[in-house]
């Protein structure tokens, strides 16, 4: 068995035979272009001119004062075009798809941010785009559904299974099996069969590279702690990656604990899951004793996935990164807190990271630095947070 694409015992290429050659073609294409000067130049151009990179590293002065511990910086991935970190990966994959001669792009989406980013870049390059989205998520993220359609993409609601992100991935995989010759599957997180976990991480690692450079300029030192939310784990992988070798930097991932990890309503994969093989990879999954994948829940549609990218499973197992649980209530409180304290409305996903920072920062000293990766903006979540607080925005 090939050892490439393995993170310890995690990773691999567990896909149906029909797509295996396509996975190999993608692997070859990625190996060929990732260090190609023209590819890198074109990607850098679109990062800067289209996606608004580098994203700002903002000193959160009020939050720092209020919490009374570490100096808090916020990495503003929410200011990217389309409002989240997802565009970093999509630009990379679509530029690759173009070089591979693929004319049709498919994607899965949970909260809709990856779907919107994919629909956006397909509009930019004139490619056909089809986004699979769980019917539950279509319901709770109707704004993003409209945005995708506005951008010219097909949005296909998936009602099989639990009607959420994992089912959207299942359906995208089935589409890929069927239309394998013409179609490029643009996976939105650091998951799936190799080379996706490596490729998506590489397209997202610019986040940690920028944090490091920006902090060097502002503080002339490394951060002491970096916090990010984790569903599949792409923004966290991007925010952690360049610091993995810097052992003084504490890396903390925030998983969605939903209504609590002792209820069936959560998505806390590393806390409650176990080893398995699903969606192309060996990793940790929420499942029952017979290996049936558990339904998961979180107020955040972007975090309710029953698995986690294989590199996170490896960082968790080796202890290099730690992963903590954040409930819906804590996330909503952090959502409101950041809005009032800094005038920044975070995505409900990113609010999970803000919540962890609110707990950790006061335990740190004033000369230490904590960075929150704010993976997305919260406009899309105002409606569901309102609903959580008992305010019906649509009918008020």
């Amino acid at each position: 068995m090939s050892e490439k694409g393995k993170f310890g015992k995690y990773g691999g290429q567990f896909v149906p035979e029909t797509v295996m050659n396509a996975v190999h073609e993608l692997e070859d294409a990625y190996d060929r272009y990732k260090d190609d000067p023209d590819f890198k130049k074109e990607l850098a151009f679109y990062y800067k001119e289209y996606a608004n990179r580098p994203s700002l590293l903002y000193y959160a002065e009020h939050m720092t004062e209020d919490l009374g511990g570490a100096k808090i910086y916020i990495k503003r991935e929410d200011l990217n075009h389309t409002g989240a970190h997802k565009i970093n990966n999509v630009l990379g994959q679509i530029l690759l798809a173009k070089r591979m001669g693929k004319k049709r792009i498919i994607a899965e989406t949970g909260a809709g941010q990856h779907g919107v980013a994919t629909a956006t870049v397909c509009a930019l390059f004139g490619l056909e785009c089809c986004v699979y989205m769980g019917s539950e998520d279509v319901e709770r993220q109707s704004l993003n559904v409209y945005r995708m359609r506005l951008l010219g993409s097909d949005v296909v609601p998936v009602s099989s299974g639990t009607g959420t992100l994992k089912d959207a991935i299942n359906e995208a995989m089935r589409d890929w099996c069927t239309n394998i010759e013409t179609t490029f599957y643009c996976i939105g997180s650091v998951m799936g069969p190799h080379p996706y976990p490596v490729m998506v991480r590489d397209f997202q690692k610019i986040i940690s590279e920028e944090i490091k450079a920006q902090l060097m300029e502002k503080e002339v030192k490394l951060p002491d702690c970096v916090v990010a939310c984790v569903g599949g784990g792409s923004n966290a992988m991007g925010a952690f990656y360049d610091f993995i070798g810097d052992e003084s930097v504490r890396l903390v991932g925030a998983e969605a604990a939903g209504r609590g990890i002792d209820t069936p309503f959560h998505a806390a994969t590393l806390t409650k899951g176990k080893y398995g093989i699903f969606h192309g990879m060996k990793s940790i999954f929420l499942q029952n004793e017979f290996g049936q994948i558990d339904p998961v829940y979180s107020i955040s549609a972007g975090l309710d996935y029953p698995g986690i990218g294989p590199e996170h499973a490896y960082l968790w197992e080796t202890g290099r990164a730690e992963y903590v649980d954040v409930t819906d209530e804590e996330a909503v409180t952090a959502f409101e807190y950041l809005s009032k304290t800094e005038g920044i409305i975070p995505a409900i996903e990113s609010a999970h990271a803000v919540s962890v920072a609110m707990k950790i920062a006061p335990t740190m000293s004033k000369d230490q630095i904590l960075v929150i990766n704010l993976s997305g903006r919260g406009d899309k979540d105002v409606y569901s947070v309102g609903k959580y607080r008992g305010v019906d925005i649509e009918n008020s």
Binding site: F14, E17, M20, S160, T178, I277, G291, Q292
Partner: protein
């Protein structure tokens, strides 16, 4: 000798092709599954695959997806399926396979899984989300128990066909065309060249599946290889008639068997 190998040796001696059929175990209940399996053998099926239902069957079309869900909703688990196999083995000595997703094997524990396969009477295992390159570990373990892990090969396998076909055991499962399981009215695959490449390299009999739903298709496809696999078309009868589907399933299997 593994029952699959014996079955193909017998068929070859008689100059016949294999008819392999599939149902999801526990759809709609275990009693119906038992009757359906015995009826299919009586009606001319040579080998039967029992589908182990999975929550997220990514290689399946809608028919088998729904069937998996009906079975899981009825409370089916792998222990119950092994119990079914014990019951079946009291009445038949024909080959039985499990078709199942890799995570259901991992969760059960491979040692316990293969021990049960051997003790209860399973002859082979098909894992649709485990490609050839990832199958080494499981094959090494299965070998010690005399269980065949069935390789799959697809039209898109191209230059990997040789490697997969020459390292196959039991039979080689040839996927007729791109896409998931389910019936198709037409096939666009160039069968001459696909089966040509397989025939030159196969280390064991090779059979074709995915989308075969009528005696006409079964007859036509069996000309290329050593047998045909029919799944969704049978599962659809089970979907329509539930526990009352035994006679209809028997008649359909007989209609396939008669043309082969």
């Amino acid at each position: 000798m593994n029952r699959i190998d014996r079955c193909f040796a017998d068929l070859k001696a008689k100059g016949k092709k294999a008819l392999i059929t599939f149902i999801t175990a526990g759809d709609p209940d275990m009693e119906t599954s038992k009757k359906a399996v015995l009826k299919m053998f009586d009606s001319g099926a040579d080998i039967i695959e029992l589908g182990v239902p999975f929550s997220d069957p990514i290689a399946e079309g809608v028919t088998i997806q729904k069937s998996s869900k009906r079975s899981l909703d009825g409370g089916t688990n792998l222990d119950m399926i092994f119990d079914l196999v014990v019951e079946l083995r009291k009445e038949t000595d024909k080959p039985l396979l499990l078709m199942m997703y890799i995570n259901t094997i991992v969760a059960y524990g491979t040692e316990k899984f293969f021990t049960n396969c051997k003790d209860k009477g399973i002859d082979g295992v098909i894992v649709p989300d485990m490609p050839y390159e990832e199958s080494g570990e499981l094959k090494d373990e299965a070998r010690g128990y005399g269980i065949h892990i069935i390789n799959l090969v697809a039209p898109t396998s191209r230059d990997r066909i040789k490697k997969i076909a020459s390292n196959s055991q039991g039979f080689l499962y040839c996927v007729s065309s791109t896409g998931v399981t389910g019936t198709r009215s037409t096939f666009t695959t160039d069968f001459e060249s696909f089966f040509g490449a397989i025939g030159e390299n196969a280390a064991c009999p090779y059979c074709v599946g995915f989308g075969i739903s009528s005696p006409e298709q079964a007859k036509k496809m069996s000309a290329y290889c050593d047998g045909v696999i029919v799944g969704s078309a049978i599962v659809r009868i089970m979907e329509e008639k539930g526990a009352q589907s035994i006679e209809a399933v028997g008649e359909f299997v007989k209609s396939l068997s008669e043309v082969m």
